[in-house]
Each structure stands twice: as structure tokens, then as C-alpha cells.
């Protein structure tokens, strides 16, 4: 209990870092030969949340904890550490095939940016399908069976609690990222270190919590909106508390704007809603293009099933899908990875994570895809600025 509390405190700040738990087979409740078989990543928080949720809801299941290097489902999917290979491996080593009579396998929806379901079907006798995106919908999904129609299970939300937790994580990580240069700079500018760290943390939490209400596009624009607010508070405060030193006032006001822009730039990395693309985050110009080639689309629904952003709409007359909500695209690449006919063309490297803080802190190649890659379509790339 105590240990779990300490871990939860750590996850309030250091969720970005891999936190492995032993891969292998876990029994949830008292599973039998017809109990469902689920797969998840070997990130401690994920495994614990899945087990606690299912146990609380009285569901018996087999949980396969795949070796994803201690990284969570979505990041591991994007980084190439949670792929069809990973699932094949855990299916073989766990011996699950001798414990159940069926071959139905439920994968986390967000693993779709790494797991190619067709490859899995080809290489094993299992019938995999993607379950809901959120753990909280898992019990309902298992009880009701299907969820293709339950579209709300498939789309990501970013509620207040999530925004707060992601804000504290963002604050901790940007502070960690900048602590060395700040320590060096504080040799010449004493007083810079603690003020800056405090600002980074407070702005991170605020920028994330207020993400929907700050004016401007996600990225630097929202950051600067917060900065203007912060600078105004700072100016009023210094005027009230005494005659300000003009250089002190100008210096800190400028610094507040720089910090807020930096925090704003990184905040979308910590959201499940916005893409981490430099052009989009700095200039606020949409730089993402995804398109379904109608002549190749066979209407298999998979792109719609794996999309966490509700990008696609089905034309039942033509029995084909089309992109209708491009603005919401986060470039996770799940649709591209899973389209059986390569009907989806795009102008970004799919299956590649690019959260700036994460890339630096987790450097160890965990966040650059080592598995297969699909090159962006040159024709499409040429048409997009």
C-alpha cells in the first residue's frame, strides 16, 4: 500500500520515464478456459490500473504483460517497442494457448500505432481485435462484447484531472531539462535558478489545466497567452510591493514570456489531443495531411476503429471511408500501420514519436522507431507547406 502510494507520487512527476514491471502472464480474479485474454504494456502504472479496475468490477481475465521496455502503451506503440513482434513473443512465452479454449485476443486500442493486426493474424492462430482506448471502459467492453458501435470508447478525452497530472509531469520534465543550463547561468545571474524553476512548474500546470480556455492555437500561442497573463500579474505585484528597479522589471517580464513560450511549445506533447509538430506548435499552421485513396479503400473499418481522434467517416453507399476531421489528426500513424491495402497516404513519418522533452530525456532510442517505417507519400508531401 505504502509502496503503491510512493509510486503514485512518482507518476505525478516522472511518468515519462520507463517503469518496468515483469513481463508475463497475470491472472485477474479467477480466470477459466473461456475467460478473455488481454494484452498490455509492462509499464507498472498501466498493469496495476488494468488489474485493479478489472478486479474491482469483478471480471476474471488473463492479462498478458508484453515486454515493452517498461514504456506505456501509446509511447511504446509509437516507439516501435509494442509491435506485432512483441505480442507474438508474449503469446508464445506465456503458454496462454494451453490455458484457454478460445483464441480471442484483446489489444489496447492505443497500441495500434505499433501493432499491425494483420501481421499478428498471419503469424499466430489468434483472432486479435482492438479494445477500448481507456481502461475505465474495459469492463463495459468485456461485458457487452462489441464496441465498434460505441464510438465514444475510441476517442480520447483530456479531462481536468488528466490535465493536472500531465501539467505536473510537464513541469517536472521541463525543469529537469533546463536545470543544467540554469545552474550554469545562475553563476552570473544569481536568483535566476529558483525563480525560473518555480515559473516553469507553475506555468506548466496552468498551461495544461487551462489548455482549452487559453486563447490561441495549441503550442507557443497558448503559452504566450499565459505569459501575458503572468507578466501582468508580475508587473502589478512589483508596482504594489514597492518602487521597482526598471531593469529587474523588464528582465523578468521578458523572461516570463520566454518561459511561457517554451512551456506552451511542449504542452501538446503531454496531451492526447494535439500533434507534436514544430511547424504546428510554433507557427500555428496545420502541417498534417492524411488522405484515403478511394480506389484502394476496401471499407474494412480498421482505420476508424484504431483512430483515437475520430478522423474518418464511412460512406455507406460507396462502402468506403474518407477523412472528414483532419484538424484532429495527431499523426499517431495507427491507421497507416493497420490499413491492409495501403490506401492511406500521409505527409509525416508514421509511428515515430516526437515529443520534445521525451526525446531528450528518454534518448535511448526508446522514442525513435526501430521497427518498420512507411515513408510519407511524396505526392502528398509536395502539396503541403
Amino acid at each position: 500500500m505504502m509502496w503503491n502510494l510512493l509510486k503514485d507520487i512518482w507518476f505525478l512527476f516522472g511518468r515519462l520515464f520507463p517503469f518496468p514491471t515483469k513481463p508475463g502472464l497475470r491472472r485477474v480474479g479467477n480466470p477459466g478456459r473461456s475467460s478473455p485474454v488481454l494484452v498490455t504494456a509492462n509499464f507498472e502504472l498501466t498493469v496495476r490500473t488494468v488489474m485493479e479496475t478489472l478486479e474491482r468490477d469483478g471480471i476474471d481475465a488473463w492479462l498478458l504483460v508484453a515486454p515493452t521496455k517498461g514504456v506505456n502503451v501509446w509511447c511504446a506503440g509509437g516507439a516501435g517497442d509494442f509491435t506485432a513482434d512483441t505480442v507474438v513473443s508474449i503469446l508464445k512465452t506465456s503458454g496462454i494457448e494451453n490455458l484457454v479454449d478460445h483464441r480471442r485476443l484483446i489489444l489496447p486500442q492505443l497500441s495500434a500505432s505499433g501493432v499491425n493486426i494483420w501481421s499478428l493474424k498471419e503469424r499466430t492462430e489468434w483472432k486479435p481485435r482492438f479494445g477500448p482506448a481507456h481502461v475505465k471502459d474495459l469492463s463495459a467492453y468485456l461485458r457487452n462484447g462489441k464496441s465498434r458501435t460505441e464510438r465514444e470508447h475510441r476517442h480520447l478525452k483530456f479531462n481536468l484531472k488528466d490535465r493536472f497530472v500531465m501539467g505536473t509531469n510537464l513541469g517536472f520534465n521541463v525543469a529537469l531539462l533546463l536545470i543544467l543550463p540554469l545552474l550554469l547561468a545562475s553563476v552570473w545571474l544569481p536568483g535566476l535558478l529558483w525563480g525560473t524553476l518555480a515559473l516553469l512548474f507553475v506555468f506548466s500546470v496552468l498551461c495544461s489545466v487551462l489548455a482549452f480556455w487559453l486563447p490561441g492555437k495549441p503550442g507557443v500561442q497558448k503559452g504566450l497567452s499565459l505569459g501575458i497573463l503572468g507578466a501582468a500579474v508580475f508587473v502589478v505585484f512589483t508596482e504594489v510591493t514597492g518602487p521597482p528597479d526598471p531593469w529587474h522589471l523588464i528582465g523578468w517580464t521578458g523572461w516570463i514570456m520566454v518561459i511561457s513560450a517554451f512551456v506552451g511549445y511542449d504542452m501538446p506533447s503531454w496531451s492526447p489531443l494535439w500533434r507534436q509538430d514544430a511547424t504546428e506548435l510554433i507557427l500555428g499552421v496545420k502541417n498534417t495531411h492524411v488522405e484515403i485513396l478511394p480506389e484502394k479503400c476496401i471499407g474494412c473499418h480498421l482505420c476508424d476503429i484504431v483512430c483515437p481522434a475520430d478522423l474518418f467517416a464511412y460512406d455507406s453507399a460507396a462502402k468506403k471511408y474518407a477523412v472528414v476531421n483532419l484538424d484532429a489528426c495527431q499523426a499517431c500513424g495507427a491507421c497507416i500501420e493497420n490499413c491492409p491495402t495501403e490506401a492511406i497516404v500521409n505527409n509525416f513519418r508514421s509511428g515515430v514519436c516526437s515529443c520534445p522533452t521525451c526525446a531528450v530525456i528518454n534518448g535511448v532510442g526508446a522514442l525513435t522507431r526501430k521497427g518498420s517505417e512507411r515513408k510519407p507519400s511524396e505526392e502528398v508531401a509536395a502539396t503541403v507547406p
Binding site: 513481463p23 513482434d85 503469424r123 509538430d277 516526437s354 535511448v364 526501430k370
Partner: protein, 212 residues
């Protein structure tokens, strides 16, 4: 922009991986590969290489006249391997799938710096599977980083490994995990060790095992 810079710095390429492994082993890995090819591989041998990477060992072995099948899970690695060892056969396959390659088929099964990439369960599973794939007089050849079992032997291990790992990480953003309990896992999978050499204060091992 910064994202692009990060991506460029951190991008993993087969060449960068090879460079990383060379630094981590102070160049020893290349010498071990040459030794495997010249001492342990005979012309005409059917060889399976688990985790063939960029195919440098596969190339040495095909030059010796062996029939090599290499497997790896990284497509970029496999495409380099196909160029560097055109006479070998390469398959995209996880180590846990080797069972489907048949039984009693190979004279040699080679794994350099690849077993340590696997989880403990995977290691156990793969070692058992290799035993089924080897011909009765076949040999399993493992070259990998190893962590000594006794705590007092781990002091020199960490003295050697930590600085090398730090430099490797800094220059190439690659790292490895040392194998633990290799000897007992080999025994549990039905192998007996025929020859074992250790390098770099025992942190790197070349172990040749036979079916017990």
C-alpha cells in the same frame, strides 16, 4: 525545429548501432565475430543467426562456406544485412518464432548481443527452442554481455561497464542489458557448456554449448 534536431540526433540507424556496440565492447565484438566464423563454423554448416543485425557476422560465415539463415525484428537492420551478406537468407521473425523453422535442422545456432535484448521468459523459451532446432551434435554459440553471479565479481563488472555504457549512450544513444545466470539457463534448457571465454574483466563472454 528543435524536434527535428532531436529526431536527427536520436535517430537509430544500423550503422549507429554497430558503432555503439563497438564502443561498448572496446572493439572486442568484431574480434569475437571473426573468431566465431573462423573457429566454430565449418564450411557447409547450416547456421541460424538469432538477431543478425546488420549482417556482419552472417557475411563472415557465408564467406566460410556456411549456409546461413539470419533472423531479426528490425526491417532497417534486415535491409542492410541483405546487402552485406547477399548469400545468406534473412527473415523478419522474433526469436520466439524460431520453432517454426523445423527441428534438428541446424549445425550451429549463433546469437551475438541478442539474447540480452530479450526478457527472462523469452530467454528461457528461446534457449529451449534452439535445442530442438539443433542437430544432435550441433552447437549453440552465444556471445553477449554477462553480469557475474557473485556480488563481489560485480564490482569490476560495473567499473568496466558503467563508463563504457555512458560513453556509448552519449555518442550513439544505444544501450544493452547484460545477461544473467547464463550457465544455469543453458543447463535448464538441456545444454552443457563446451567452451567459455571471458573478456573485459569477465563482462563479455563467448560461450559454446552442446546438447547435453
Amino acid at each position: 525545429m528543435s524536434t527535428l534536431v532531436y529526431m536527427k540526433i536520436l535517430e537509430q540507424t544500423p550503422a549507429k548501432y554497430d558503432r555503439g556496440m563497438r564502443i561498448l565492447t572496446l572493439g572486442r565484438v568484431d574480434r569475437i565475430k571473426r573468431e566465431i566464423a573462423s573457429v566454430w563454423i565449418q564450411p557447409g554448416n547450416a547456421v541460424l543467426e538469432i538477431g543478425c543485425g546488420s549482417g556482419s557476422l552472417a557475411a563472415l560465415m557465408t564467406n566460410r562456406g556456411a549456409q546461413v539463415v539470419g533472423i531479426d525484428v528490425s526491417e532497417p537492420m534486415l535491409s542492410v544485412a541483405r546487402t552485406s551478406a547477399p548469400d545468406a537468407e534473412f527473415l523478419h521473425m522474433t526469436a520466439t518464432e524460431i520453432g517454426m523453422l523445423g527441428s534438428d535442422r541446424f549445425d550451429r545456432i549463433v546469437a551475438t548481443l541478442s539474447l540480452s535484448e530479450l526478457s527472462e521468459d523469452e530467454q528461457r523459451y528461446v534457449l529451449r527452442a534452439t535445442r530442438g532446432l539443433l542437430k544432435p551434435n550441433g552447437k549453440l554459440i552465444v556471445a553477449d554481455e554477462v553480469r557475474p553471479d557473485a556480488w563481489w565479481q560485480r564490482i569490476p563488472f560495473y567499473c568496466v561497464r558503467l563508463p563504457l555504457a555512458a560513453v556509448t549512450l552519449l555518442l550513439t544513444q544505444n544501450t544493452t542489458h547484460a545477461l544473467r545466470l547464463l550457465d544455469s539457463r543453458l543447463a535448464a534448457a538441456g545444454f552443457r557448456v563446451a567452451s567459455a571465454e571471458r573478456y573485459l574483466l569477465g563482462t563479455l563472454a563467448l560461450v559454446v554449448a552442446e546438447r547435453a
